[in-house]
């Protein structure tokens, strides 16, 4: 699964860069991140708790910042395992910044590989969810960088209900 897009932020590239190269800061903008800890200068580990369709569990991940050359070459490799299907997910993310009329365009390109049963839900659930998460991250980044304020948690939609209602499509 490949994901590409652009996030426009009304802030200078230096400020955007400082935030996105710091996983601790970035994690505040990612829905479901429960904890994140630094392993070494470039490596972080954490857990995302999520109920995505039928998957209601934890996703344990490790991210490694492999390249960080301001402003146009950020590469992060993420590996993780979900607690329900024990599937392995590998994601390579590349990002670059470009100044644009006093603002910054953040271009990203991610390639996601899922090894295991979770792949069955790839197009049904994961792509849309990834898209919404990226949208949420973008909203949060703008909020932090454009107003200096973290988003109001109450403004984030919270959805209750049975998380197991989406089943894989083998018909």
């Amino acid at each position: 699964m490949k994901l590409t897009g652009r996030i426009a932020i009304q802030a200078p590239p230096e400020a955007v860069w400082a935030l996105i190269v710091n996983p601790i800061s970035l994690a505040r903008c990612m829905p479901g991140v429960q904890d994140i800890r630094q392993v070494d200068e470039r490596t972080f580990e954490g857990t995302i708790s999520a109920a995505v369709g039928p998957i209601d569990g934890n996703f344990v991940f490790r991210s490694v910042l492999t390249t960080a050359e301001f402003p146009d070459h950020l590469v992060v490799a993420v590996e993780g395992t979900d607690s329900v299907t024990k599937s392995r997910l590998e994601m390579d993310v590349q990002a670059s910044l470009a100044a644009h009329d006093g603002a910054t365009d953040l271009d990203y390109r991610a390639e996601v590989k899922v090894k295991g049963r979770l792949a069955i839900l790839g197009e049904m659930v994961l792509r849309a969810t990834a898209g919404m998460m990226i949208g949420e991250v973008a909203r949060c980044l703008r909020s932090q960088l454009e107003t200096g304020e973290p988003p109001d948690p109450a403004s984030v939609p919270s959805i209750a209900g049975d998380p197991g209602a989406v089943a894989p499509p083998i018909e």
Binding site: M1, K2, P31, G32, S49, A50, A51, V52, G53, P54, I55, V84, T85, E111, K113, R117, L118, A119, I120, L121, G122, E123, M124, V125, R127, A128, T129, G131, M132, M133, E136, V156, P157, S158, I159, G161, D162, P163, G164, A165, V166, A167, P168, P169, I170, E171
Partner: protein
């Protein structure tokens, strides 16, 4: 353990169970059913209980994945059931007949014996339709019990009522029975479950006859090749946890499915020389069509913003649209399902819709990865390679986008999120398609002299004396329907042909 039988059925999937059960109706015929997967007894609750479908597919050991690539290098899995009953033990339990136009297409390859009129009595004999019973097109005495969990005149939840209203406004009529010859519109779906338990071909065909002394079932047994003796199949070579061996038979039926039936033929030296030579397998019998003509149904998911919570039971979806991707068509080419919301804390609700294209214009291929029977075959589905298929999917997005803007559905459906702008729809179709899991065609029917044909109209392999293929691989064109019932139909046809042949030989 007996090493010789009158009939060996290789593969206890959907069709293989039907063949084995029906062939053992003759107490004078010894039948061996070989299945690579397990035969857990009693049937595990995760298999039998449709409410556990998600767990069955995502966590159980009974599903096998075959990774395939799109043109952009991304991948998605094809699936099969690795358990007695095959797909019928792991699928979503729908019982959908091929359309009349599918039989018309098959008739062009198999002759009048494959026409709708010729096979309607077989379709009726397969089922006990608890809603329609014994009428000119339905059956009341067959092993497969089916019913519709929801009928269109039942009181409907608001989202379902809204969908029905919108569908009617878009010219899609109510279709209370999608097993009519030419279904079209908004249809209630029939399911094969009884008292909340799955009616796989194990439950419906095998279990009632399991104790017959002339039927032996050997699970966890992989057939590694067919043993040929000239134009006869002398038997099969098997591998079990306990070792390897050869079992002989007068007749062999290959029911290993659209992935593994061609694989086993190729491993046995039956196929095109070019498909065997790279793996060092000597050619025993040339049949260029083996593994060719792979057909399936492409699926594309699109996702709308949710204006409210859409609670719907996906496992037993109440209705589906059988629709045309374009008004220019004279027949429906789509299944459309409104899926329940995707919910993730911290993210707004999303409402997916799945678009299932029922036609495939650029057949793919199944080939060997190696000469090792344990290696999965290579599948090249070639989905959405034809411009008309891509166009149909793009048109389908447009149709559903308009449908959700009908006032009744707009209460629930907001803007289209994935794909977003119209100029990205084609890219989304090409990079995000998946499969309906309806593989067929890799050992297709056709007359002698047809270079792509593997079996004749009686499902007997061309040029071999005693080898029949009975699974969805024989279907020359993927039907405009889910394929489980089509596989059952093939199994029943094969059983009848074998019985007829046995009578001929006896006389």
């Amino acid at each position: 353990m007996t090493s010789r039988f009158d009939l060996i059925v290789v593969g206890g999937g959907t069709a293989g169970c039907v063949v084995a059960a029906r062939a053992s109706d003759d107490p004078g015929r010894s039948v061996l059913l070989l299945e690579a997967g397990p035969d857990p007894r009693p049937i595990p609750d995760v298999v039998a209980d449709p409410k556990r479908q998600t767990e069955l597919v995502l966590e159980s050991p009974y599903v096998r994945m075959y990774d395939v690539e799109r043109e952009d290098g991304s991948s998605f899995p094809l699936l099969s059931g690795r358990i007695l009953g095959g797909g019928s033990s792991v699928n979503n339990l729908v019982v959908v007949r091929p359309m009349r136009r599918d039989f018309d297409a098959w008739q062009r390859f198999g002759g009048p014996a494959w026409s709708y009129d010729a096979l309607l009595p077989v379709l009726r004999a397969i089922e006990t339709d608890e809603d329609f019973g014994d009428d000119p097109i339905h059956g009341a005495h067959g092993p497969l019990r089916l019913h519709r969990a929801f009928k269109l005149d039942d009181p409907a939840d608001p989202p379902v009522a809204a969908l029905i209203e919108a569908a009617h406004a878009f010219g899609l009529p109510s279709c209370p029975d999608l097993n009519v010859p030419d279904p079209f519109g908004i249809c209630s779906s029939p399911y094969n479950q009884v008292d909340g338990r799955r009616q796989s071909t194990v439950a419906a065909w095998i279990d009632p006859v399991r104790d017959r002394p002339n039927l032996e079932i050997r699970p966890d047994t992989t057939v590694t090749r067919l043993v040929l003796d000239g134009s006869r199949v002398r038997g099969v070579e098997i591998a079990t946890p306990g070792g390897t061996g050869i079992v002989e038979a007068d007749e062999v039926v290959l029911s290993a499915g659209a992935f593994h039936s061609p694989q086993l033929l190729l491993l046995s030296g039956i196929g095109a020389p070019g498909a065997l030579e790279p793996h060092g397998i000597p050619l025993r019998h040339r049949l260029d069509g083996v593994g060719e003509n792979y057909q399936d149904h492409a699926v594309v998911y699109i996702t709308f913003a949710g204006n409210t919570e859409l609670r719907e039971d996906y496992v037993i979806p109440k209705v589906r649209l059988i629709a045309k991707s374009s008004d220019r068509l004279d027949h429906p080419d789509l299944h459309v399902f409104m899926r329940p919301s995707i919910r993730m804390p911290g993210v707004a609700p999303m409402l997916p819709v799945s678009l299932h294209l029922l036609e495939h214009r650029t057949p793919g291929r199944v080939s060997l990865a190696s000469s090792d029977p344990e290696d999965l075959p290579v599948v090249e589905p070639n989905l959405l390679r034809h411009p008309d298929d891509v166009e149909a999917m793009v048109d389908a997005i447009d149709f559903v986008d308009r449908l959700t803007k009908h006032p009744s559905l707009a209460r629930f459906y907001g803007e289209l999120l994935t794909p977003d702008s119209r100029d990205t729809w084609r890219e989304h179709v090409l990079t995000a398609y998946d499969t309906y899991h309806h593989a067929v065609g890799t050992c297709r029917i056709g007359p002698a002299g047809d270079p792509g044909a593997v079996v004749d109209a009686d499902l007997r392999v061309h040029g071999l004396d005693n080898l029949t293929i009975a699974d969805a691989s024989v279907l020359p064109v993927v039907p405009h329907a889910n394929t489980n019932l089509a596989a059952i139909l093939v199994g029943e046809i094969a059983a009848r042909r074998l019985a007829g042949r046995a009578m001929e030989l006896a006389s």
